[in-house]
Protein backbone atom coordinates (compact mmCIF):
# COMPACT_ATOMS: atom_id res chain seq x y z
CA UNK A 1 0.00 0.00 0.00
CA UNK A 2 1.01 3.56 -0.59
CA UNK A 3 2.20 5.75 2.25
CA UNK A 4 -0.19 7.01 4.87
CA UNK A 5 -1.61 10.54 4.68
CA UNK A 6 -3.38 10.59 7.99
CA UNK A 7 -2.06 9.06 11.13
CA UNK A 8 -4.05 9.31 14.30
CA UNK A 9 -2.19 8.14 17.39
CA UNK A 10 -3.55 7.46 20.85
CA UNK A 11 -6.08 10.21 20.73
CA UNK A 12 -8.21 10.76 23.82
CA UNK A 13 -11.16 13.02 24.33
CA UNK A 14 -13.57 13.24 27.21
CA UNK A 15 -16.48 15.59 27.73
CA UNK A 16 -17.03 15.64 31.44
CA UNK A 17 -18.03 12.13 32.34
CA UNK A 18 -18.42 11.06 28.73
CA UNK A 19 -15.53 9.46 26.96
CA UNK A 20 -15.91 10.28 23.31
CA UNK A 21 -12.51 8.99 22.19
CA UNK A 22 -10.35 6.50 23.96
CA UNK A 23 -7.01 5.38 22.57
CA UNK A 24 -8.04 6.07 19.03
CA UNK A 25 -5.31 5.12 16.61
CA UNK A 26 -5.91 4.97 12.89
CA UNK A 27 -3.62 5.06 9.91
CA UNK A 28 -5.14 5.96 6.58
CA UNK A 29 -3.14 5.36 3.44
CA UNK A 30 -3.23 7.82 0.61
CA UNK A 31 -6.14 7.33 -1.74
CA UNK A 32 -7.93 4.87 0.52
CA UNK A 33 -11.64 4.87 1.30
CA UNK A 34 -12.44 4.23 4.93
CA UNK A 35 -15.81 4.13 6.57
CA UNK A 36 -16.72 4.64 10.17
CA UNK A 37 -19.67 2.86 11.67
CA UNK A 38 -20.86 2.65 15.20
CA UNK A 39 -23.72 2.99 17.59
CA UNK A 40 -25.17 6.39 18.24
CA UNK A 41 -22.92 8.48 20.37
CA UNK A 42 -20.00 6.14 19.81
CA UNK A 43 -17.64 8.94 18.85
CA UNK A 44 -17.66 8.96 15.05
CA UNK A 45 -18.46 12.62 14.64
CA UNK A 46 -16.04 13.41 17.43
CA UNK A 47 -13.37 11.68 15.41
CA UNK A 48 -14.18 13.75 12.36
CA UNK A 49 -14.31 16.88 14.48
CA UNK A 50 -10.88 16.23 15.91
CA UNK A 51 -9.30 15.59 12.55
CA UNK A 52 -10.80 18.77 11.14
CA UNK A 53 -9.98 20.97 14.10
CA UNK A 54 -13.43 21.62 15.54
CA UNK A 55 -12.43 19.82 18.72
CA UNK A 56 -8.98 19.66 20.18
CA UNK A 57 -8.07 16.20 21.48
CA UNK A 58 -7.09 15.95 25.12
CA UNK A 59 -3.99 14.06 24.11
CA UNK A 60 -2.53 12.18 21.20
CA UNK A 61 -1.35 13.27 17.80
CA UNK A 62 -2.99 13.61 14.44
CA UNK A 63 -0.41 13.69 11.69
CA UNK A 64 -1.21 14.89 8.24
CA UNK A 65 1.80 14.33 6.05
CA UNK A 66 4.57 15.28 8.39
CA UNK A 67 2.84 17.77 10.62
CA UNK A 68 0.75 17.36 13.72
CA UNK A 69 -2.55 19.06 13.07
CA UNK A 70 -4.15 18.30 16.42
CA UNK A 71 -5.47 21.55 17.82
CA UNK A 72 -5.10 23.61 14.65
CA UNK A 73 -8.04 25.78 13.65
CA UNK A 74 -10.57 24.40 11.14
CA UNK A 75 -9.62 27.06 8.66
CA UNK A 76 -5.95 26.16 8.75
CA UNK A 77 -6.71 22.48 8.39
CA UNK A 78 -9.07 23.15 5.52
CA UNK A 79 -6.38 25.13 3.80
CA UNK A 80 -4.05 22.16 4.11
CA UNK A 81 -6.52 20.18 2.04
CA UNK A 82 -8.64 18.34 4.57
CA UNK A 83 -12.26 19.02 3.79
CA UNK A 84 -15.42 17.76 5.36
CA UNK A 85 -19.17 17.62 5.14
CA UNK A 86 -21.53 17.70 8.07
CA UNK A 87 -24.02 15.41 9.71
CA UNK A 88 -26.33 18.40 9.92
CA UNK A 89 -25.91 20.38 6.73
CA UNK A 90 -24.10 23.66 7.28
CA UNK A 91 -25.37 26.16 4.76
CA UNK A 92 -25.74 29.86 4.42
CA UNK A 93 -29.41 30.16 5.07
CA UNK A 94 -30.12 33.52 3.53
CA UNK A 95 -28.33 32.80 0.31
CA UNK A 96 -29.65 30.84 -2.61
CA UNK A 97 -28.36 27.42 -3.50
CA UNK A 98 -26.33 28.88 -6.30
CA UNK A 99 -24.85 31.55 -4.10
CA UNK A 100 -23.81 28.94 -1.59
CA UNK A 101 -21.86 27.30 -4.34
CA UNK A 102 -20.43 30.64 -5.41
CA UNK A 103 -19.17 31.22 -1.89
CA UNK A 104 -17.31 27.94 -1.95
CA UNK A 105 -16.01 28.75 -5.37
CA UNK A 106 -14.88 32.25 -4.39
CA UNK A 107 -12.99 31.08 -1.35
CA UNK A 108 -11.20 28.47 -3.35
CA UNK A 109 -10.52 30.60 -6.39
CA UNK A 110 -6.87 30.32 -7.20
CA UNK A 111 -5.79 33.85 -6.35
CA UNK A 112 -7.89 34.00 -3.18
CA UNK A 113 -11.15 35.89 -2.90
CA UNK A 114 -11.04 39.33 -4.41
CA UNK A 115 -12.53 42.67 -3.43
CA UNK A 116 -13.27 43.58 -6.97
CA UNK A 117 -14.00 40.47 -8.98
CA UNK A 118 -17.72 40.01 -9.21
CA UNK A 119 -18.99 37.03 -7.29
CA UNK A 120 -21.81 36.52 -9.74
CA UNK A 121 -19.50 36.59 -12.68
CA UNK A 122 -20.66 34.44 -15.60
CA UNK A 123 -17.82 31.97 -15.43
CA UNK A 124 -18.22 31.42 -11.72
CA UNK A 125 -21.92 30.86 -12.23
CA UNK A 126 -21.27 28.35 -14.94
CA UNK A 127 -18.93 26.46 -12.66
CA UNK A 128 -21.47 26.52 -9.87
CA UNK A 129 -24.21 25.36 -12.18
CA UNK A 130 -22.08 22.50 -13.39
CA UNK A 131 -21.56 21.30 -9.85
CA UNK A 132 -25.22 21.65 -8.98
CA UNK A 133 -26.14 19.70 -12.04
CA UNK A 134 -23.80 16.92 -11.14
CA UNK A 135 -25.54 16.65 -7.79
CA UNK A 136 -28.98 16.78 -9.39
CA UNK A 137 -29.96 19.87 -7.47
CA UNK A 138 -29.66 22.42 -10.24
CA UNK A 139 -33.42 22.90 -10.35
CA UNK A 140 -33.24 24.38 -6.85
CA UNK A 141 -30.51 26.84 -7.66
CA UNK A 142 -32.55 29.98 -7.06
CA UNK A 143 -34.10 28.80 -3.84
CA UNK A 144 -33.18 29.95 -0.41
CA UNK A 145 -31.99 27.28 1.99
CA UNK A 146 -34.99 27.18 4.35
CA UNK A 147 -37.14 26.27 1.38
CA UNK A 148 -35.18 23.12 0.70
CA UNK A 149 -36.06 19.67 1.88
CA UNK A 150 -33.63 17.85 4.12
CA UNK A 151 -32.12 15.72 1.40
CA UNK A 152 -31.31 18.58 -0.93
CA UNK A 153 -29.59 20.40 1.89
CA UNK A 154 -27.44 17.38 2.50
CA UNK A 155 -26.39 17.23 -1.13
CA UNK A 156 -25.55 20.88 -1.28
CA UNK A 157 -23.48 20.51 1.85
CA UNK A 158 -21.42 17.80 0.22
CA UNK A 159 -21.15 19.73 -3.00
CA UNK A 160 -19.72 22.69 -1.12
CA UNK A 161 -17.26 20.53 0.74
CA UNK A 162 -15.99 19.20 -2.57
CA UNK A 163 -15.06 22.58 -3.97
CA UNK A 164 -11.36 23.30 -4.00
CA UNK A 165 -8.35 21.05 -3.92
CA UNK A 166 -8.89 18.21 -1.53
CA UNK A 167 -6.48 15.66 -0.21
CA UNK A 168 -8.63 14.10 2.44
CA UNK A 169 -12.39 14.25 2.46
CA UNK A 170 -14.35 13.39 5.57
CA UNK A 171 -18.06 12.89 5.03
CA UNK A 172 -20.27 12.72 8.09
CA UNK A 173 -23.29 10.58 7.24
CA UNK A 174 -23.46 11.67 3.63
CA UNK A 175 -26.58 9.69 2.82
CA UNK A 176 -28.67 10.04 5.91
CA UNK A 177 -31.83 11.82 4.94
CA UNK A 178 -31.25 11.17 1.27
CA UNK A 179 -34.04 9.16 -0.32
CA UNK A 180 -33.21 5.51 -0.71
CA UNK A 181 -33.18 5.42 -4.48
CA UNK A 182 -30.84 8.41 -4.52
CA UNK A 183 -28.31 7.03 -2.12
CA UNK A 184 -26.32 4.95 -4.52
CA UNK A 185 -26.32 7.43 -7.37
CA UNK A 186 -25.14 10.12 -4.99
CA UNK A 187 -22.43 7.99 -3.51
CA UNK A 188 -21.36 6.91 -6.95
CA UNK A 189 -21.12 10.47 -7.99
CA UNK A 190 -19.19 11.60 -4.96
CA UNK A 191 -16.89 8.65 -4.85
CA UNK A 192 -16.14 8.73 -8.54
CA UNK A 193 -15.22 12.37 -8.39
CA UNK A 194 -13.05 11.88 -5.35
CA UNK A 195 -11.36 8.75 -6.53
CA UNK A 196 -10.64 10.28 -9.88
CA UNK A 197 -8.49 12.90 -8.18
CA UNK A 198 -6.94 10.43 -5.80
CA UNK A 199 -8.56 11.89 -2.72
CA UNK A 200 -8.49 9.93 0.48
CA UNK A 201 -12.02 9.46 1.80
CA UNK A 202 -13.30 8.76 5.27
CA UNK A 203 -17.03 8.59 5.65
CA UNK A 204 -19.37 7.96 8.54
CA UNK A 205 -22.35 5.82 7.68
CA UNK A 206 -25.19 3.89 9.23
CA UNK A 207 -26.29 2.18 6.05
CA UNK A 208 -24.36 -1.07 5.79
CA UNK A 209 -25.08 -1.48 2.09
CA UNK A 210 -23.25 1.72 1.44
CA UNK A 211 -20.46 0.69 3.74
CA UNK A 212 -19.83 -2.61 2.04
CA UNK A 213 -20.14 -1.20 -1.39
CA UNK A 214 -17.86 1.79 -1.13
CA UNK A 215 -15.31 1.35 1.57
CA UNK A 216 -12.12 -0.63 1.56
CA UNK A 217 -11.86 -0.72 5.26
CA UNK A 218 -14.26 -0.20 8.12
CA UNK A 219 -13.69 1.15 11.60
CA UNK A 220 -16.38 0.25 14.04
CA UNK A 221 -16.82 2.56 17.04
CA UNK A 222 -18.46 1.78 20.27
CA UNK A 223 -18.42 3.90 23.38
CA UNK A 224 -15.46 5.99 22.28
CA UNK A 225 -13.36 3.00 21.28
CA UNK A 226 -12.61 1.31 18.01
CA UNK A 227 -13.89 -2.20 18.41
CA UNK A 228 -13.05 -3.41 14.96
CA UNK A 229 -10.80 -2.22 12.18
CA UNK A 230 -10.73 -4.40 9.13
CA UNK A 231 -12.13 -5.10 5.70
CA UNK A 232 -15.93 -4.62 5.52
CA UNK A 233 -16.90 -8.27 5.48
CA UNK A 234 -14.75 -9.04 8.46
CA UNK A 235 -16.06 -6.16 10.50
CA UNK A 236 -19.69 -6.79 9.69
CA UNK A 237 -19.43 -10.38 10.75
CA UNK A 238 -17.78 -9.50 14.02
CA UNK A 239 -20.20 -10.49 16.80
CA UNK A 240 -19.51 -7.41 18.86
CA UNK A 241 -20.21 -5.20 15.89
CA UNK A 242 -23.37 -7.09 15.15
CA UNK A 243 -24.52 -6.75 18.67
CA UNK A 244 -23.87 -3.04 19.16
CA UNK A 245 -24.02 -1.61 15.68
CA UNK A 246 -25.64 -3.52 12.91
CA UNK A 247 -28.02 -5.70 14.86
CA UNK A 248 -28.13 -9.46 14.49
CA UNK A 249 -28.30 -10.49 10.85
CA UNK A 250 -31.89 -10.85 9.77
Amino acid sequence: MSKSVLEVRDVQKTFGAVTAAQDISVTVPEGAVYSLIGSNGAGKTTFVNMVTGYIKPDSGTIRFGDRNIAGMAPRQITRLGIHRSFQIAQLCTELTVEENMLVADAIHSRSGPSFLRRAHDAQARDRAMATLERFHIAEHRDRLIPELSGGVKKLLDIAMAMAGDTQIMLLDEPTSGVASDEKFPIMDLVMDALRASGVTVIFVEHDMDIVTRYSERVLAFYDGRIIADDAPDEVLSDPEVQRYVTGAPA
Binding site: T45, N49, Y54, F86, Q87, I88, Q90, D172
Partner: protein
Amino acid sequence: MDLAATILVDGLIYAGWLFIVSVGLTLVFGVLNILNIAHGSLYAIGAYASASMVGAYFALGGEAFPYGSYVAMILAAVLVALVLGPLLERGLLRFFYGRDEVLNVLVTYAVFLILEDAMKLIWGVNPYFVYEPYTLLGDVEIGPLFYVGYDFAVIAAAVIVGLAVWLTLNKTRVGKVVLAVIHDSEMSQTMGVNVQRIYLGAFMAGTFLAALGGALTAPMISVTPGLGVNVIIVAFAVVIIGGLGSVPGAAIGALMVGISRAASVHLFPEAELFIIYFVMAIVLLFRPEGLFAKTQARKI
Protein backbone atom coordinates in the same frame (compact mmCIF):
# COMPACT_ATOMS: atom_id res chain seq x y z
CA MET B 1 -15.57 52.98 59.52
CA ASP B 2 -12.79 52.16 57.21
CA LEU B 3 -12.89 52.99 53.58
CA ALA B 4 -13.25 49.45 52.31
CA ALA B 5 -16.40 48.91 54.34
CA THR B 6 -17.88 52.19 53.12
CA ILE B 7 -17.16 51.23 49.56
CA LEU B 8 -18.75 47.88 50.11
CA VAL B 9 -21.91 49.32 51.64
CA ASP B 10 -22.24 52.03 49.02
CA GLY B 11 -21.53 49.52 46.30
CA LEU B 12 -24.14 47.13 47.62
CA ILE B 13 -26.78 49.81 47.79
CA TYR B 14 -26.10 50.87 44.24
CA ALA B 15 -25.89 47.27 43.08
CA GLY B 16 -29.25 46.50 44.63
CA TRP B 17 -30.85 49.25 42.64
CA LEU B 18 -28.98 48.31 39.48
CA PHE B 19 -30.01 44.72 39.80
CA ILE B 20 -33.70 45.50 40.09
CA VAL B 21 -33.40 47.72 37.06
CA SER B 22 -31.55 45.12 35.01
CA VAL B 23 -33.12 41.83 35.89
CA GLY B 24 -36.31 42.53 33.99
CA LEU B 25 -34.31 43.43 30.93
CA THR B 26 -32.42 40.18 31.05
CA LEU B 27 -35.62 38.25 31.61
CA VAL B 28 -37.35 39.77 28.62
CA PHE B 29 -34.33 39.20 26.49
CA GLY B 30 -34.02 35.64 27.70
CA VAL B 31 -37.58 34.71 26.88
CA LEU B 32 -38.61 36.93 24.01
CA ASN B 33 -35.16 37.49 22.57
CA ILE B 34 -35.91 41.18 22.53
CA LEU B 35 -33.49 43.73 23.86
CA ASN B 36 -36.02 46.14 25.17
CA ILE B 37 -34.89 49.75 24.92
CA ALA B 38 -38.26 50.80 26.22
CA HIS B 39 -37.28 49.18 29.50
CA GLY B 40 -36.00 52.58 30.58
CA SER B 41 -39.36 54.17 29.82
CA LEU B 42 -41.15 51.46 31.74
CA TYR B 43 -38.85 52.26 34.62
CA ALA B 44 -39.77 55.92 34.36
CA ILE B 45 -43.46 55.11 34.12
CA GLY B 46 -43.09 52.97 37.22
CA ALA B 47 -41.59 55.95 38.99
CA TYR B 48 -44.40 58.23 37.88
CA ALA B 49 -47.07 55.70 38.75
CA SER B 50 -45.50 55.16 42.13
CA ALA B 51 -45.33 58.88 42.77
CA SER B 52 -48.98 59.27 41.80
CA MET B 53 -50.12 56.29 43.83
CA VAL B 54 -48.22 57.25 46.94
CA GLY B 55 -49.41 60.81 46.52
CA ALA B 56 -52.96 59.58 46.26
CA TYR B 57 -52.47 57.32 49.23
CA PHE B 58 -51.47 60.18 51.46
CA ALA B 59 -54.08 62.43 50.00
CA LEU B 60 -56.68 59.86 50.96
CA GLY B 61 -55.55 59.90 54.55
CA GLY B 62 -52.68 57.48 54.46
CA GLU B 63 -50.88 59.50 57.13
CA ALA B 64 -52.50 57.28 59.72
CA PHE B 65 -50.58 54.32 58.44
CA PRO B 66 -47.66 55.60 56.40
CA TYR B 67 -46.24 52.13 55.80
CA GLY B 68 -49.13 51.52 53.48
CA SER B 69 -47.29 53.69 51.00
CA TYR B 70 -44.99 50.74 50.29
CA VAL B 71 -47.99 48.72 49.24
CA ALA B 72 -49.04 51.62 47.05
CA MET B 73 -45.63 51.59 45.39
CA ILE B 74 -45.78 47.91 44.59
CA LEU B 75 -49.36 48.23 43.42
CA ALA B 76 -48.23 50.97 41.08
CA ALA B 77 -45.71 48.61 39.50
CA VAL B 78 -48.33 45.90 39.22
CA LEU B 79 -50.67 48.34 37.58
CA VAL B 80 -48.08 49.37 35.04
CA ALA B 81 -47.42 45.73 34.23
CA LEU B 82 -51.12 44.98 33.89
CA VAL B 83 -51.77 47.87 31.58
CA LEU B 84 -48.63 48.18 29.50
CA GLY B 85 -47.57 44.55 29.47
CA PRO B 86 -50.46 43.26 27.41
CA LEU B 87 -50.67 46.45 25.40
CA LEU B 88 -47.09 46.25 24.20
CA GLU B 89 -46.71 42.50 23.99
CA ARG B 90 -50.04 41.58 22.42
CA GLY B 91 -50.45 44.82 20.58
CA LEU B 92 -47.00 45.13 19.08
CA LEU B 93 -44.08 42.94 20.01
CA ARG B 94 -45.65 39.63 19.14
CA PHE B 95 -45.68 40.56 15.49
CA PHE B 96 -41.92 40.69 15.53
CA TYR B 97 -41.04 37.44 17.24
CA GLY B 98 -38.34 35.49 15.54
CA ARG B 99 -37.29 38.49 13.52
CA ASP B 100 -33.88 40.02 13.41
CA GLU B 101 -32.48 41.03 16.78
CA VAL B 102 -31.65 44.53 15.61
CA LEU B 103 -35.06 45.02 14.10
CA ASN B 104 -36.55 44.31 17.49
CA VAL B 105 -34.21 46.79 19.06
CA LEU B 106 -35.56 49.32 16.62
CA VAL B 107 -39.15 48.47 17.44
CA THR B 108 -38.54 48.98 21.12
CA TYR B 109 -36.66 52.17 20.34
CA ALA B 110 -39.77 53.46 18.65
CA VAL B 111 -41.78 52.43 21.68
CA PHE B 112 -39.28 54.26 23.84
CA LEU B 113 -39.74 57.47 21.85
CA ILE B 114 -43.50 57.18 22.01
CA LEU B 115 -43.57 56.47 25.72
CA GLU B 116 -41.22 59.36 26.46
CA ASP B 117 -43.71 61.82 25.05
CA ALA B 118 -46.71 59.90 26.31
CA MET B 119 -45.37 60.36 29.83
CA LYS B 120 -45.13 64.07 29.27
CA LEU B 121 -48.69 64.12 28.03
CA ILE B 122 -49.92 62.24 31.09
CA TRP B 123 -47.80 63.66 33.88
CA GLY B 124 -46.58 66.94 32.43
CA VAL B 125 -43.07 68.21 32.90
CA ASN B 126 -43.29 69.18 36.52
CA PRO B 127 -41.50 66.91 38.93
CA TYR B 128 -43.25 64.61 41.34
CA PHE B 129 -41.97 63.96 44.82
CA VAL B 130 -42.87 61.28 47.26
CA TYR B 131 -40.19 61.48 49.87
CA GLU B 132 -42.25 59.96 52.71
CA PRO B 133 -41.40 56.31 52.06
CA TYR B 134 -37.75 57.25 51.83
CA THR B 135 -37.45 58.47 55.37
CA LEU B 136 -39.98 56.14 56.92
CA LEU B 137 -37.56 53.38 57.75
CA GLY B 138 -35.31 55.62 59.77
CA ASP B 139 -31.55 55.95 59.78
CA VAL B 140 -28.92 53.32 60.05
CA GLU B 141 -25.70 54.44 61.61
CA ILE B 142 -22.65 52.62 60.40
CA GLY B 143 -19.56 54.04 62.03
CA PRO B 144 -19.52 57.76 61.42
CA LEU B 145 -21.85 57.51 58.46
CA PHE B 146 -25.56 57.69 58.31
CA TYR B 147 -27.46 55.62 55.85
CA VAL B 148 -31.15 55.63 55.25
CA GLY B 149 -32.95 52.45 56.21
CA TYR B 150 -34.70 52.59 52.89
CA ASP B 151 -31.43 51.93 51.10
CA PHE B 152 -31.19 48.60 52.81
CA ALA B 153 -34.79 47.85 52.06
CA VAL B 154 -33.92 48.26 48.38
CA ILE B 155 -31.11 45.74 48.78
CA ALA B 156 -33.56 43.38 50.41
CA ALA B 157 -36.02 43.92 47.61
CA ALA B 158 -33.28 43.15 45.09
CA VAL B 159 -32.46 39.90 46.84
CA ILE B 160 -36.11 38.90 46.97
CA VAL B 161 -36.71 39.79 43.34
CA GLY B 162 -33.58 37.98 42.24
CA LEU B 163 -34.41 34.83 44.17
CA ALA B 164 -37.98 34.84 42.99
CA VAL B 165 -37.05 35.16 39.34
CA TRP B 166 -34.22 32.67 39.59
CA LEU B 167 -36.22 30.08 41.46
CA THR B 168 -39.13 30.41 39.10
CA LEU B 169 -36.94 29.96 36.08
CA ASN B 170 -34.74 27.21 37.41
CA LYS B 171 -36.63 25.29 40.00
CA THR B 172 -40.15 25.15 38.72
CA ARG B 173 -41.73 23.44 35.81
CA VAL B 174 -42.99 26.73 34.55
CA GLY B 175 -39.41 27.87 34.31
CA LYS B 176 -38.43 24.85 32.32
CA VAL B 177 -41.35 25.24 30.01
CA VAL B 178 -40.19 28.82 29.53
CA LEU B 179 -36.80 27.47 28.52
CA ALA B 180 -38.48 25.30 25.93
CA VAL B 181 -40.41 28.25 24.56
CA ILE B 182 -37.29 30.37 24.44
CA HIS B 183 -35.52 27.79 22.43
CA ASP B 184 -38.23 26.72 20.06
CA SER B 185 -41.67 28.16 20.39
CA GLU B 186 -43.05 26.23 17.43
CA MET B 187 -42.02 22.88 18.83
CA SER B 188 -43.31 23.87 22.24
CA GLN B 189 -46.73 24.46 20.75
CA THR B 190 -46.86 21.02 19.28
CA MET B 191 -46.15 19.65 22.70
CA GLY B 192 -49.10 21.48 24.14
CA VAL B 193 -47.45 24.54 25.63
CA ASN B 194 -49.50 27.71 25.68
CA VAL B 195 -46.77 29.78 24.13
CA GLN B 196 -48.68 33.02 24.02
CA ARG B 197 -49.31 32.90 27.70
CA ILE B 198 -45.64 32.34 28.39
CA TYR B 199 -44.63 35.29 26.23
CA LEU B 200 -47.20 37.53 27.76
CA GLY B 201 -46.32 36.39 31.25
CA ALA B 202 -42.63 36.94 30.71
CA PHE B 203 -43.12 40.36 29.24
CA MET B 204 -45.46 41.38 32.00
CA ALA B 205 -42.96 40.14 34.55
CA GLY B 206 -40.27 42.16 32.81
CA THR B 207 -42.50 45.22 32.76
CA PHE B 208 -43.31 44.75 36.40
CA LEU B 209 -39.63 44.56 37.30
CA ALA B 210 -38.81 47.67 35.31
CA ALA B 211 -41.69 49.53 36.89
CA LEU B 212 -40.73 48.22 40.31
CA GLY B 213 -37.24 49.59 39.82
CA GLY B 214 -38.76 52.97 39.07
CA ALA B 215 -41.31 52.70 41.83
CA LEU B 216 -38.65 51.99 44.42
CA THR B 217 -36.45 54.79 43.14
CA ALA B 218 -39.21 57.38 43.02
CA PRO B 219 -39.02 58.35 46.71
CA MET B 220 -35.37 59.28 46.56
CA ILE B 221 -35.39 61.33 43.42
CA SER B 222 -37.49 63.90 41.72
CA VAL B 223 -39.53 62.18 39.07
CA THR B 224 -39.01 64.24 35.94
CA PRO B 225 -39.09 63.68 32.19
CA GLY B 226 -36.01 62.05 30.75
CA LEU B 227 -35.63 59.81 33.77
CA GLY B 228 -35.51 56.63 31.74
CA VAL B 229 -32.79 57.54 29.28
CA ASN B 230 -29.88 57.13 31.61
CA VAL B 231 -31.16 53.93 33.03
CA ILE B 232 -31.16 52.02 29.76
CA ILE B 233 -27.47 52.10 29.05
CA VAL B 234 -26.53 51.21 32.60
CA ALA B 235 -28.95 48.32 32.61
CA PHE B 236 -27.66 47.17 29.24
CA ALA B 237 -24.14 47.16 30.50
CA VAL B 238 -25.04 45.13 33.57
CA VAL B 239 -26.93 42.62 31.50
CA ILE B 240 -24.10 42.32 29.01
CA ILE B 241 -21.53 41.83 31.73
CA GLY B 242 -23.57 39.08 33.26
CA GLY B 243 -24.39 37.37 30.01
CA LEU B 244 -27.70 38.00 28.29
CA GLY B 245 -30.61 36.18 29.79
CA SER B 246 -28.83 35.16 32.95
CA VAL B 247 -30.28 36.18 36.30
CA PRO B 248 -27.21 35.30 38.39
CA GLY B 249 -25.22 37.09 35.72
CA ALA B 250 -27.24 40.25 36.20
CA ALA B 251 -26.68 39.96 39.94
CA ILE B 252 -22.93 39.62 39.62
CA GLY B 253 -22.82 42.26 36.93
CA ALA B 254 -24.69 44.66 39.21
CA LEU B 255 -22.35 43.90 42.07
CA MET B 256 -19.26 44.42 39.96
CA VAL B 257 -20.50 47.69 38.58
CA GLY B 258 -21.85 48.85 41.95
CA ILE B 259 -18.70 48.18 43.87
CA SER B 260 -16.29 49.45 41.26
CA ARG B 261 -18.34 52.59 40.95
CA ALA B 262 -18.31 53.12 44.68
CA ALA B 263 -14.56 52.53 44.79
CA SER B 264 -14.06 55.02 42.02
CA VAL B 265 -16.19 57.72 43.67
CA HIS B 266 -14.26 57.38 46.90
CA LEU B 267 -10.80 56.91 45.50
CA PHE B 268 -10.70 58.31 42.03
CA PRO B 269 -13.79 60.38 41.28
CA GLU B 270 -12.54 61.37 37.82
CA ALA B 271 -13.02 57.84 36.57
CA GLU B 272 -16.64 57.44 37.58
CA LEU B 273 -17.98 58.14 34.13
CA PHE B 274 -15.87 55.42 32.55
CA ILE B 275 -16.10 52.78 35.18
CA ILE B 276 -19.11 50.98 33.86
CA TYR B 277 -17.69 50.75 30.35
CA PHE B 278 -14.36 49.78 31.76
CA VAL B 279 -15.82 46.89 33.72
CA MET B 280 -17.80 45.85 30.70
CA ALA B 281 -14.82 45.95 28.36
CA ILE B 282 -12.65 43.98 30.77
CA VAL B 283 -15.28 41.32 31.26
CA LEU B 284 -15.94 41.01 27.55
CA LEU B 285 -12.24 40.82 26.84
CA PHE B 286 -11.99 37.66 28.86
CA ARG B 287 -15.48 36.35 28.36
CA PRO B 288 -16.72 37.49 24.97
CA GLU B 289 -20.31 36.58 25.79
CA GLY B 290 -20.44 37.81 29.33
CA LEU B 291 -19.95 35.98 32.60
CA PHE B 292 -22.79 33.53 32.26
CA ALA B 293 -22.92 32.96 28.55
CA LYS B 294 -25.81 31.01 27.20
CA THR B 295 -24.66 27.54 26.33
CA GLN B 296 -24.71 27.08 22.61
CA ALA B 297 -26.40 24.01 21.31
CA ARG B 298 -24.12 21.67 19.46
CA LYS B 299 -24.25 22.46 15.80
CA ILE B 300 -22.31 19.65 14.17
